[in-house]
Symmetry: C2
Subunit: 197 residues, 2 copies
């Protein structure tokens, strides 16, 4: 019988984890970026489409290019973080279905000519993978600050020109500085957003 | 210094976790549904909008109503699972921003009149919360089988009539039967979907 994981784990992943405002000086090695991907990639997506594409801005010039396209205080956050990542979605993900979902040979045809459904499905499933990214970072002892305030068109032009890839959201990444946390924001009670039938 | 969690945890959450095809007879108590919500609710969303709404189909009549709106083999999965859940999004989530995001008093105004952005943001953020649902279930020793094959309009009419709530995806839930797993599907290598700048 599978038991629940320990309170320490539940705290680290959800109950005490927080979106951070700043990071310590501890560097994030390229190996850790690989470890984050090698965890998040196992999270489920519809027909195993795995639409997430990640651009890791590690160098100062790359962070500066991204920061220039961010709104308000987000630019400063991107510049100051050890790493900033663009989480994007490949709108032509269906090209890879025969390889990624080999046990249902005709699954690729479900997307044929379905442009609206493809866009919606890519957003849904790359967002699932974006959440797996956040959780994977926490499992490895890192923190994130995901953000939606940026110039979507310019990020697409800058990082994904002449490709079917489009930005979903961005996040900073590093080892969070607990001294700069805001008080936690409230959540809905169970009864407000859950219905049992 | 925060250390990575143990291999056992990484295995349970991502590396060895699997989308299951069937469940053991072990029942899922109402208390466990509450525990899943009380973990997933802490995962971050944009402006803390928390758009996810959950309808837990626990009774046989509720599962039968949902199963009747599912495509192909999904109906049988819904009927046979201990619990099936409808994961939906409240398209009027912005009504709650003053309460949920109190430290930025004008954040609600960012959504004013932005119907397309609201729909996209609700889909993005309820999908993040859908992933937190899957991870929370795994942390508690349960398994899921998320599905997108259903009649979206009829699910909305049946479960969310006269409300601004719309289905995102559905999932079954229980204690997975490892004997019925398919072989795992492949994933992209790091180099195929990651770029370091």
């Amino acid at each position: 019988m599978t038991l629940p994981l320990s309170d320490e784990v539940l705290d680290r992943v959800f109950r005490r984890a927080r979106t951070v405002n700043s990071y310590t000086d501890r560097p994030v090695s390229p190996q850790v970026l690989r470890e984050i991907y090698d965890l998040l990639k196992w999270g489920p997506t519809s027909t195993n489409q795995c639409p997430l594409r990640i651009v890791w801005c590690v160098s100062e010039p790359a962070k500066a290019r991204l920061a220039a396209l961010c709104a308000g205080g987000n630019a400063e956050k991107v510049l100051r973080a050890p790493v900033s990542a663009v989480l994007a979605m490949d709108l032509a993900f269906y090209r890879h279905i025969p390889r990624l979902f080999p046990h249902v040979p005709d699954a690729q045809s479900w997307y044929s000519g379905q442009d609206e459904m493809i866009k919606e499905s890519a957003l849904r499933n790359s967002s699932l993978q974006g959440a797996y990214f956040i959780i994977a970072a926490r499992l490895l002892g890192l923190d994130c600050n995901p953000m939606s305030g940026f110039d979507e068109g310019k990020i697409n032009d800058t990082f994904f020109a002449d490709t079917p890839t489009r930005v979903n959201f961005i996040t900073t990444l590093g080892y969070g500085d607990p001294a700069t946390l805001y008080p936690g924001a409230p959540r809905f009670d169970f009864e407000e957003v859950n219905t049992l039938l």
